[in-house]
């Protein structure tokens, strides 16, 4: 089985995100970049599927030069090869355009499965896996919490719905599946894995050499930190002073004690 995992490099969740002065983009200073959280679970699920059913795991990302690191990290965990789509225009694109760019590269590969994290922790569109399913004429399942393969033509997925509900869906292959965090326990790269990664192939495709039809349909008018509408009491002091103040609020203001 030929599996592709889409991964994305994003700033660490705890990063201090700041907007560059008068420019509608974030400042890259002091940012620590990592693999998007739910993508780690997608990589692990692909590796488990390969271990149980055989095949190849290919890691693909679209991004600027530094993004090759997320491919390397996944190769160190046991994925077989990488495809790096280099955004050499260093421009931001909306998710529909990104999906068309990735489709352009993936369509030659004829993957049986495309896995991706359900949502990126930076832009958070939560659409890529489903967009690609449509572009590549695949079935799809989103927010998946478990996978089962009993035949070579179909995959069963347990989808998460709202309020604690779940649903099983059976998808004909090829299929694109978006993975919810918590589906498995992502492994760490071993020292041996890191050594082996160095011999694995990463093919680079440059955006400027691709014939992807990009038509920009959105204008970013403003990027800003949200304006606070709520009045907040900031409680300062030593831990004891803070605890005392909380106690007073609980007892006297909220009458909960």
């Amino acid at each position: 089985m030929k599996i592709c995992v889409l991964v994305k490099q994003v700033p660490d969740k705890d990063s201090d995100i700041k907007v560059e002065n008068n420019e509608n983009k974030i400042s890259n200073q002091n940012l620590n970049f990592i693999t998007n959280d739910s993508d780690n679970y997608a990589v692990e699920e692909a590796l488990l599927l390969k271990e149980n059913h055989g095949g190849e795991v290919v890691i693909c990302t679209f991004g600027e030069e530094s993004a090759t690191q997320v491919i390397k990290d996944s190769l160190s965990k046991g994925a077989d090869r990488g495809i790096f789509i280099h955004n050499d225009l260093n421009k931001e694109f909306d998710i529909l355009n990104i999906s068309k760019i990735i489709k352009n590269v993936l369509e030659k590969e004829n993957f049986d499965l495309i896995l991706s994290g359900l949502q990126s922790d930076d832009i958070g569109n939560g659409q890529l896996g489903v967009l690609l399913a449509e572009h590549l004429n695949m079935s799809h399942g989103s927010l998946v919490m478990e996978t089962k393969m009993d035949s070579t033509e179909k995959i069963k997925v347990k989808r998460e719905l709202e309020n604690g509900w779940f649903q099983w869906a059976t998808l004909d292959l090829p299929a694109s599946i978006t993975i919810q965090s918590g589906i498995n326990k992502p492994r760490y790269a071993s020292l041996r894995g890191i050594m082996m990664m160095k011999r694995k192939t990463i093919d680079t495709v440059k955006l400027t050499e691709l014939n992807a039809a990009i038509d920009e349909q959105l204008t970013l008018k403003e990027l800003y930190a949200p304006i606070k509408s709520k009045k907040t009491e900031k409680i300062n002091g030593s831990s004891q002073e803070i605890a005392d103040r909380i106690f007073t609020i609980l007892k006297e203001d909220l009458m909960l004690l």
Partner: protein
């Protein structure tokens, strides 16, 4: 500006968030069409002030299937509809990207604001886990899903509208996705929705060994224990404790969060609380944007001191 609002219908009723999207559309346009696949929904919708209610009929639309839903909407889509509005539900997340690709129009998901000025639409999306807002102006027609709680149902305008019913041909839709009945994993799981007081745990608690600190606070306050997604993913607390879009939506008198950063998916589940008290080390944590009481500090010091104080009194 002509707007089309998709109405989600499940368990015999219209999804509340779909009505919020409808309220949003009515606020900015006098030319709003509501579309549904269910007769019962259409009969309810005709009591709102709308240009028309579109009822699309086909047996394959009786239960949710992304492929049939996508094709049905593709069939009736017209260039005149400048924007198609949806509730940002899990169902929307599953099929609307497919519609976006099929129509080749962008889908702006999880928007917290939508407005129209001089026939020009502008939407607001949150990025970086809610740390930033993006105001976007689409140059073309677009799809847009609205986050829960951003528009109020009580502003819906009543009226008398006509239902236009159409039979949709879906014979060419491939049958490559089949679904089973939905189910709940844990029978008798805890119901947090009625809790008066919730102590909620997030990543900032640091390690599993610290969970008892939150549990003790919960005990002395006679509260319920909740958590954010990562805590459940790590296996530190069971799934039925999770608050947020994939867990429960709560509105207690006090929501007391310990080390919860407040990502969008979590906020959706608790922003309706009467009072929010938050302790977090990171002063830029998005939870502080919606907190009534903000404490930047070490919960491992503050909480034990608070427990002691409550016990002494």
């Amino acid at each position: 500006m002509k707007l089309l609002v998709f109405i989600q219908f499940e368990d015999g009723k219209i999804n509340r968030m779909s009505l919020e999207a409808l309220a949003c559309a009515q606020k900015y346009s006098t030319s709003v069409t509501a579309v549904t696949f269910y007769e019962k929904a259409a009969n309810e919708l005709k009591n709102y002030e709308l240009e028309e209610v579109l009822l699309l009929k086909n047996n394959n639309l009786n239960t949710y299937n992304p492929l049939f839903y996508t094709e049905a909407m593709h069939t009736i889509y017209k260039e005149d509809y400048k924007a198609l509005l949806f509730a940002h539900t899990y169902e929307t997340r599953d099929w609307v990207p497919r519609l976006s690709a099929r129509l080749n129009v962008p889908f702006l998901s999880d928007c917290i604001d939508f407005k129209v000025t001089n026939e020009l639409a502008e939407v607001t999306r949150q990025t970086y886990q809610g740390k930033l807002n993006n105001n976007l102006v689409p140059k073309t027609n677009f799809l847009c899903s609205i986050q829960s709680g951003c528009f109020k149902i009580d502003t819906l305008k009543n009226g008398t509208s006509v239902i236009n019913s159409t039979d949709i041909d879906l014979n060419n839709v491939p049958n490559t996705i089949s679904t089973e009945e939905k189910f709940k994993d844990q029978k008798g799981g805890v119901d947090l929705t009625a809790a008066e007081l919730i102590v909620s745990v997030g990543r900032g608690i640091g390690k599993e060994e610290n969970i008892p600190i939150a549990q003790e606070l919960k005990e002395v306050l006679n509260a319920e224990l909740g958590s954010s997604r990562p805590i459940v993913d790590y296996g530190w607390l069971p799934h039925d404790r999770q608050i947020g879009s994939s867990g429960q939506v709560v509105s207690p008198k006090l929501y007391f969060s310990l080390g919860v950063s407040g990502a969008i998916q979590h906020q959706v589940g608790m922003k309706g609380s009467d009072n929010i008290m938050a302790i977090n080390k990171d002063e830029n944590a998005p939870i502080f944007e919606i907190a009534d009481y903000a404490i930047v500090g070490d919960l491992l010091e503050i909480v034990p001191a608070l427990i002691k104080k409550i016990k002494e009194n």
